[in-house]
Symmetry: C2
Subunit: 424 residues, 2 copies
């Protein structure tokens, strides 16, 4: 039995009862012979309450002070959790991100981890203690100021520590049973995925599946660290995110569909009447990049020969929509397009799985399923293991269910989901 | 205009409004040309709420984790205060006790400061920023664990930083106007003291005056750091605690009474029928010391020649009374006294001022005042600048008022309070 890193989110440690429940689960892992490092988030709504307080004293709080403020949240939960474990007769020591050696860059509120030096954590577990580490926080390598890692930061802390400590695996405890073939709130027949490769999980995450964020999956993939996503409220096995042995995968030529993700958080901007000559698209996306906005899907329509003009559409988070429209409006004279269209009533639906490109039937089945349920496709984008389409937002539930059924993902079948492509 | 250290307690920063009020006061000091270092406590009842949470998860929380938990409180208040100051257009940076270089021993929950290395604080003020420092907390020199300084710790942080930084003075902001000649809730005519020497303030503090704790006064005296105790709710001058120039004091042979303190937090234990022979008293106080209890006043009665037995009485905090009685009961067979009496209905009244010993009229006036108002004296203890007596608890208010009046401290007189001794 080796070392395991466990991460508990805010809903798992929302109150004293929750903390005691989590403490028992940790002690169980100790009793089973594991060394345990625990990464914990702030209790329940603590972080939101601190954000509200900051808003009361200052409309635009400083990033450095905001990080100092927010990191008080994990300090409370980790100390209480350590006390609760000690109360069950096991040794436990809590550590801040800085004490745990989580070294970051100096970008407050969304720092990136650049090194992990977990000497004190290793010392604690060598002594037989459970090490409790504050998630979401680190210390800047250059300024020595306290930083926070931004959205989903605690998951990243857990994976980074697991990698640095050479853990067997990283367990991410949450309030659902694992990763599902589609959002169970939309697709009642969605099935829990027992095992999924890093690449597929990464595509699902960036396509709208909320359970894990792409950032922590990316980190785990780089270091080949298995992640086990599971519920802190049950003892069930959850979803393992890890690489199959090479042989197992290479021997299989069929497409293996992991799941269907959807995302309604994006908007579509169409730049109408762009002169179809070299450099035009570059100017458009330079204007967006200069405004520090990230875009997702991009499609350029075929140019109409009669006018020499084309349209370029792209999607980006709704929250960035206003900024993007402003940036493009400012750039319009230099670029010389005709007009802009903004549309935030869209949804993105993505099918994720291995072997798609070599199994053209997958794309056909996907589009047929949408067409049969009357869903119109507005944009298409594909990667090695993903096909995404943009549809109307109010059609998304129907579209996801249709695709889920078409690929045999519905839970009547107890077998592994395999789609054998048969040509276009 | 030099450097000033300001300390604000929990009641001054209890909510967003309080924090903004304090921020304005700090900015005023900056506008007046001062460099400012601020020491801040946790907001309002934060610390008590965290203590309650700890009690919910563990009946006997670990000292290390308890300190980790409690230090979240100042982290919140200091970050918010820094934001509020920045919002007024002035630069501000917050620092934990550890970042501020407050180095302590490893005794959790009541650590003592052993060094202050305020390099980062000096750097911040050199840049023109206000440095906000978390009070009450430090970092252990040997274990690098977070520690707290115990009761009144934030005042001690402020004085220690003022000394290390070579500040002009240390301002302790509180919810009263300063130090008074007696507790204004008991003596309506009590006057605010404009200036008081360290020694007198120290005696008042250990005799029951709550505004400053002896610990921080002791620290300030050692480094000759002037303390200004004042209200954060008004602009009034408060009480300066500092040494008079040597000449000013030495030239004056009259007794100068600083004030009357009282304390109802102690109990009296009388050991009855102790054999009057060498070593008996030592055995009694060894038993108390072995139980790690501190005692305050001690009086041994004159032995009755007929029996060869004597009584020994002492006072100690009520909270330690039970432990002391247990320790003495266990030691009774070895010591051989007759019985124990416990009395927690007592009060201690202390008169503090310079020149008492050489002005015997002071003692006489003190005892006459008590006698004239029908107050019986049970124990007496004196130091160079203090006389303390123990009376019944229910007589304390009357006794304090009588003494206050007898020494001309009542506020009708606007002059400095001087008592000219005239012999016994």
């Amino acid at each position: 039995m080796g070392l395991v890193v466990q991460k508990y989110g805010g809903s798992s440690v929302a109150d004293a009862e929750g903390i005691k429940r989590v403490a028992k689960r940790i002690v169980e892992a100790r009793k089973n012979g594991h060394q345990v490092v625990v990464v914990v988030s702030a209790m329940g709504d603590t972080t939101d309450e601190l954000i509200d307080l900051a808003g009361e004293v200052s409309p635009i709080p400083s990033g450095r002070e905001f990080d100092m403020l927010l990191t008080a949240g994990e300090r409370i939960s980790m100390a209480l959790l350590a006390m609760a474990i000690k109360n069950l007769g096991h040794e436990a020591l809590s550590f801040t991100g800085s004490q745990a050696g989580v070294i970051t860059d100096s970008v407050h509120n969304k720092a990136r981890i650049i090194d992990v030096t977990p000497g004190r954590i290793q010392g604690a577990i060598d002594q037989g203690a459970v090490a409790i580490v504050a998630g979401f926080q680190g210390v800047s390598q250059t300024t020595k100021d306290i930083t926070t890692l931004g959205r989903g930061g605690s998951d990243t802390t857990a994976v980074a520590l697991a990698c640095a400590l050479g853990a067997e695996s990283c367990e991410i405890y949450t309030d659902v049973d694992g990763v599902f073939t589609a959002d169970p709130r939309v697709v009642k027949k969605a099935r829990k995925i027992d095992e999924i490769p890093f690449e597929d999980m990464l595509e699902l995450a960036i396509s709208g599946t909320k359970v894990l964020l792409g950032r922590c999956v990316e980190y785990a993939r780089r270091y080949d660290m298995p992640i086990h996503v599971r519920s802190s409220f049950s003892g069930h096995q959850g979803t393992w995110v890890r690489n199959k042995p090479e042989g197992a995968r290479a021997g299989m030529e069929q497409a293996i569909i992991s799941g269907v993700a959807h995302d309604t958080s994006e908007a579509k901007i169409t730049v109408v009447g762009v002169p179809d000559k070299p450099g035009e698209a570059a100017m458009i996306f330079r204007a967006i990049a200069d405004a520090e906005l990230n875009i997702d899907m991009v499609v350029q329509n075929v140019s109409a020969a009669s006018t020499g003009l084309t349209d370029i559409s792209f999607t980006l988070p709704k929250t960035d929509g206003h900024k993007a429209m402003e940036a493009l409006t400012r750039a319009q004279p230099g670029i010389g397009f005709e007009s802009l269209r903004y549309d935030d009533q869209i949804a993105k639906i993505s099918l994720v799985g291995a072997g798609m490109r070599t199994n053209p039937g997958v794309t056909a089945t996907f589009f047929e399923a949408l067409s049969n349920s009357g869903v119109n496709i507005e944009l298409i984008s594909t990667s090695e293991i993903r096909i995404s389409v943009v549809t109307r937002e109010d059609e998304v539930a129907e579209a996801v269910r249709a695709v889920h059924t078409a690929f045999g993902l519905d839970s009547e079948s107890d077998e592994a989901v395999v789609y054998g492509g048969t040509g276009r």
